[in-house]
Amino acid sequence: MPVQIRGEVLSLRRAGSYHVLTLTAPGLPELTRPGHFVALSVGGEHTGMMLRRAFSIHRVQSRGVYGGTLDVVFAVHGKGTAWLAERHRHDVIDIVGPLGRPFALPREPVSCVLVAGGYGSAPMFMLADALRERGCRVDVVLGASTEDKLFGVLDAKRMAATLTIATEDGSVGKRGRVTDILPGVMESVDADVIYACGPMGMLAAVAQLAEERGVHSQCAVEEAMACGIGVCMTCVLPVVDERGTTRMVRSCVEGPVFRGDRVRWADVGTIPADCLGAPVGGHR
């Protein structure tokens, strides 16, 4: 169950191309699981920006001087994130969270590969902690277009059994994409589960690699959301349920984490003709 709180900015720092924002968030850390997200209001009290911005939760801390705190990672994409990047200490930001369905964790101590593109790695560190507490082996694969668009390389190095990096310009690690290096890592560590977070194209490719090898995958999607709490119906994507029926489901409440084999990746952005309630003769 989410809370709505007025968080105070404790710090805002740069990390490569990204910003890391730390907010006070009393009551939120205790409810947070890896993969949850928050929806932040932007623009201040009299803003014309009516929609919240959703960010996966990077870290939470329940104890300490400030009570509970929350870290999110963001890139400046538009007016809302530009406003966030201009915040100062003590500024107030309205927070709703934790939201969504978190990553499912294995009951057994299995071998897990965590794959992230860009700042998709933000939720992976809490996830790695939770997996290691269960005795799981954790290997990490990070990718980005270029070195400054990688996030959390040092943390990943510290906690992962192995860290493998791919950049499209070859500025660090192997030249290429995460999906070029993932099969080798999966094989060498005999992966049982893949956890992924990043752009849709990357998730689609990761889910396919996992499925081809009979490996379970958990993918955290990025969909444009207006409310984040399940009332607006803007963030839908086609997902197959247990009975094989495709439905347009809300990524904010039924996701953002989905089983990779349940999402119809190639049909994201469309209404598949065999989807429940699809209009006869297709729909645009």
């Binding site: 809370v3 009516m50 009332v231």
Partner: protein, 364 residues
């Protein structure tokens, strides 16, 4: 259940000592303890918002428009942010009437929330079947007939853009609804003369009017140089459309002062809601502002109560349509302005104890 709103502090009326206001109102036969409702499509069926505040504290929940059959809605992207608003192109995604009654309405009933069921159809026959299905719903108080969703393939399907089509749908629902159920017709602002559409609906048996639905709009993405929405066009909502909505409510109330209006369009604060009340709304709905702040409905209710108290209103009902009163006679008494009030019979009188002394008058 613990309500999870932390850090908002006491509500305004708890800090300031304001007199009580009787907030009760009604939409035709549907009596409400207070005039703040949710807007259809902005609160799903109430369950999500109940995490943030007690939804039974609202006048009622207006559910997302339901159709006969399950419907997938339109492709994504379905929304675009616009100045003080947004475009949406959901396309009436929903589970169909059977699943809605079984799951959503059952939950609302168990929760004890007053409910207005919004229905949508592609033909008069579909509306008829929906009304017939709802005849068997016990304790049903009100139906909102959504004849104005802009997110349909064929603009000809927007019944509310044509008086004859609007009347045909409303008549079918009114004829097939149980007696005592208030039938509200939801109107579109995308018409030349909204009063003419209102008249058609009233003559066809509507007990009240909901206004306004979204305005048809469009955004083109300068990066892709294509429409931002997969559905090309979408419905514009949010504070950007508030003046259009207030105008529509004012015009229709002026023409039909006895027909209750559920007013909506960009309400974000109690003061926004007050505009609709003064224009003639018997109740108001909160829509897009919920996406910005899920607690908006309860905050607006508290703010509206205070705004009415500050203006000397003892009853919400006295403020409905107050902007339509005759101009006050020019004051010649040197700075003392009396606040005129509607009498019980709708006539004018002057309430002495509500007199406000202007500072300039006192000093001078």
């Amino acid at each position: 259940m613990t309500r999870a709103v932390i850090g908002h502090g006491p509500l305004p009326s708890e800090i300031r000592d304001l007199p009580d206001v009787d907030m009760s109102t009604s939409l035709a036969s549907f009596a409400l303890p207070n005039p703040v409702l949710t807007a259809s499509g902005c609160a799903a069926s109430g369950r999500e918002l109940d995490q943030f505040f007690d939804i039974t504290a609202l006048g009622a929940i207006v559910t997302k428009s339901i159709m006969i059959n399950p419907r997938s809605g339109r492709a994504t992207p379905r929304m675009a942010e616009t100045p003080s608003g947004m475009l949406n192109s959901i396309g009436l995604q929903g589970p169909g009437i059977d699943a809605f009654l079984e799951r959503d309405l059952a939950w609302l009933r168990d929760r004890g929330a007053r409910t207005v069921i919004s229905i949508a159809g592609g033909s008069v026959d579909e509306y008829t079947r929906l009304a017939q299905r709802l005849r068997h719903v016990p304790d049903l108080s009100a139906i909102e007939v959504n004849i104005s969703c802009p997110n349909v393939e064929d603009r000809g399907q927007v019944f509310a853009c044509d008086p004859y089509s609007a009347a045909a749908v409303v008549a079918a629902v009114a004829r097939n609804s149980a007696p005592g159920v208030a039938v509200l017709a939801k109107l579109s602002p995308d018409v030349t003369d909204i009063v003419a559409i209102a008249k058609a609906c009233i003559d066809a048996g509507a007990d009240g009017l909901s206004m306004i639905n979204t305005l048809l709009g469009m955004v083109i993405d300068p990066e892709t140089m294509r429409p931002a929405l997969a559905g090309v066009t979408g419905g514009l909502s949010g504070p950007a459309i508030r003046p259009v909505a207030v105008r529509a409510v004012y015009q229709v109330h002026a023409a039909y002062p006895d027909v209750p209006i559920l007013g909506m369009g960009g309400i974000r604060t109690g003061m926004d809601a007050l505009e609709f009340v003064l224009a003639g709304a018997s109740a108001v709905s909160i829509g897009t502002a919920i996406f910005n702040d899920p607690s908006t409905p309860v905050r607006v209710l508290a703010e509206l109560r205070d705004a009415l108290a500050e203006r000397g209103f003892e009853r919400y009902a006295d403020a409905v349509g107050y902007a339509h009163r005759e101009p006050e006679p020019m004051s010649t008494s040197g700075g003392v302005v009396s606040v005129p009030r509607y009498g019980a019979d709708g006539s004018w009188d002057t309430v002495a104890d509500a007199d406000i002394e202007l500072e300039a008058g006192v000093e001078g």
